[in-house]
């Protein structure tokens, strides 16, 4: 028995090609039924995400299955030649373990792919398209992913400015539920950051923008409250997180303005996320007690650090995966006689 993997991903196919080959949830059952008719194919799991479309199959004659898959995909897309990569065991096993661990993802170490693999496997299992070998393979892949994540730093830190800001807020306030956020200047990044904070339980969002209508619209969308830009200091009471992204040519949040506001806060911390260029907050406000200022450069630096840490961990992850590949291949050899 052999495990065959064929697919396209973000590395070898652009989005316009990937979307042609994508298998939506509504066509999954039918597609599985079609490929199961390929001669020599015992079972299949289809993984279709925005970055990859992959077919994992169990077969006794890999070459015939690979040709069959190519033919089926060409037929399905009206003659388009798919830039398919194909692997058979043990490369296919290694590939799945790497995918599950987030090593093959666009952002190394991202964890969403594991959930997507689980959904794909469950769907194939429900359709009765999996075999004993595929069941074992996917269960093993989930176990490998868990081990890689818990024993290495492949998922450490955040890889976007918004998620770094949310992580830092967590390191300052702990639980974010009940916290109050103020947005100064309704830009796209500040909006995304505010949405991330709201999804983590932030209670109140106050939006202040030069154009009041825009502030009102954003406040309406995220369930917040709009105030006139000139009144932001009056609405500042009990604000825990301040997100700035105005187009002002000079600092708006100055030490002079902040000091009297801080005196009313009883030592509560204030997290300032300055996404604006030129900066909205004077760098010296970071020297104030209980104020933590992060500008766009410092946030991007943390993103780079996280990615560096993750890249440095890849070698350790590969070693772990290699061990599991050997273990699985050994199991497969000793259980080849037992087909579904």
């Amino acid at each position: 028995m052999n495990i065959v993997c064929a697919g396209i991903n973000h590395r070898n196919a652009t989005v316009d090609i990937r979307e042609k080959f994508a298998v939506g949830p509504h066509e999954l059952q039918e597609t599985l039924a079609c490929i199961r008719r390929i001669d020599g194919l015992a079972g299949a799991v289809i993984v279709s995400t925005c970055n990859r479309v992959e077919f994992y199959t169990a077969s006794v004659c890999p070459i015939r299955v690979m040709d069959g898959l190519r033919g089926y995909l060409q037929e399905r897309t009206g003659g388009s030649e798919a830039p398919l990569y194909t692997h058979d065991s043990p490369a296919s096993v290694r590939h799945l373990f790497r995918v599950a661990s987030g090593l093959d993802s666009m952002v190394i170490g991202e964890t969403e792919i594991l959930g997507q693999l689980k959904v794909a496997y469950a769907a194939a299992s429900e359709c009765g398209a999996t075999t004993r070998h595929l069941n074992k393979l996917f269960q093993h892949a989930f176990r490998v992913a868990k081990q890689v994540r818990s024993e290495t730093q492949i998922t450490r830190g955040s890889t976007s400015v918004g998620s770094v800001a949310v992580d830092l807020a967590g390191k300052i306030f702990g639980d974010l539920s009940g916290r109050k956020v103020m947005i100064l200047g309704a830009g796209d990044t500040s909006e995304r950051t505010a949405r991330s904070l709201v999804s983590r339980g932030v209670r109140t969002v106050i939006v202040a923008n030069r154009t009041f209508d825009r502030a009102a619209r954003l406040a309406g969308e995220i369930g917040g409250m709009a105030v006139h830009f000139d009144h932001w200091q009056k609405a500042f009471e009990n604000v825990d997180i301040l997100i700035c992204s105005t187009a002002a040519p000079h600092p708006i949040v100055t030490r002079e303005k902040l000091e009297p506001l801080l005196r009313q806060r009883d030592g509560k911390p204030l997290f300032i996320i300055d996404l604006a260029v030129p900066r909205d907050a004077e760098p010296s406000v970071n020297e104030l007690e209980n104020v933590y200022l992060y500008d766009i450069d410092s946030l991007e630096q943390i993103v780079r650090q996280s990615l560096d840490v993750r890249r440095a961990e890849v070698v350790r992850c590969e070693k772990m995966i290699e061990h599991h590949v050997r273990e699985f291949v050994t199991w497969m050899r000793t259980h080849t006689a037992f087909l579904k």
Binding site: G170, K171, I172, F173, G174, G267, I302
Partner: protein, 261 residues
């Protein structure tokens, strides 16, 4: 047997401390089972040792500076095991183990007197006073550790250092709460302990009385200033660290003065 138990406990704490150093050095620190199991092991062995020596001495085993260090180590671990999990302060254990290891090492190396100075009579109030005061020291030690963790985390955040420590230390807000509650707990225990001492009517040296009073007043002032919002968290953390260090340094002098002459 007692020596074996103490050596075992010291080894457990060394294991936790060494593991922390090793993982920190490798840049992948994550407090885990090793720290918890080592601390639990150390606590169990110390409990057994205290029980044995208590039986042998026929009283709470706090009759020499050696005893005091062992009892205080046990108190620190006890308070950690009680409050650490409640506040999700798993890293507190990693910070606590070097302190307890150091105390046990000082005791083990024979740097302090191990001669039990028998009391003239076994007064339960005196026993209660001594035990409670040392448990209060345990709470203050943990408050100092939480304060140290706050200072480290605050520095990481201020300097924008996204290392393994930043991701694994608890949020500063949680550390402020832990520091505050541990100080209150310690102060309540210390006050009750002192109350028991007064009720016992035991003779007290003036210097010991003044030193103990200063310690009590120091922590009391800290809590009052915090209550009045006059002390920012950073200074509170630093002050709890400094006062505990002073208390620890003055402990041999107090113990010497309190011993029967």
């Amino acid at each position: 047997m007692d020596q074996l138990l103490l050596t075992g406990a010291t080894f457990c704490l060394l294991l936790s401390f060494g593991y922390t150093l090793f993982t920190l050095g490798a840049g992948r620190f994550r407090p885990g089972l090793v720290n918890l199991v080592s601390i639990l092991g150390g606590f169990a062995l110390l409990s057994l040792d205290l029980w044995n020596r208590g039986q042998a001495q026929g009283s709470c085993p706090i009759n020499s500076l050696f005893d005091v260090l062992i009892f205080m180590s046990w108190s620190i671990l006890l308070i950690y095991l009680l409050v650490g999990p409640a506040y999700h302060l798993s890293l507190l254990g990693a910070f606590t183990s070097p302190l307890v290891f150091l105390l046990l090492l000082i005791a083990q190396l024979g740097l302090v007197g191990n001669t039990a100075q028998g009391r003239f009579h076994r007064d339960p109030w005196v026993e209660f006073h001594a035990a409670l005061t040392l448990i209060a020291y345990g709470a203050f030690a943990l408050a100092a550790v939480a304060g140290l963790m706050y200072l480290v985390q605050n520095r990481q955040l201020k300097k924008r250092r996204a290392g393994a420590l930043l991701y694994n230390l608890p949020p500063i807000t949680d550390l402020v709460v832990a520091n505050d509650r541990l100080l209150r707990l310690g102060f309540a225990l210390l006050t009750t302990g002192f109350g028991a001492g007064i009720l016992s009517g035991m003779p007290v040296d003036n210097l010991k009385f003044v030193a103990s009073g200063l310690l009590w007043a120091g922590y009391g002032t800290l809590l009052i200033l915090r209550k009045m919002h006059r002390l920012p968290p950073k200074r509170m953390a630093a002050a709890s660290l400094v006062i505990f260090a002073l208390a620890l340094i003055s402990l041999p002098a107090i113990q010497y003065l309190s011993s029967p002459k």
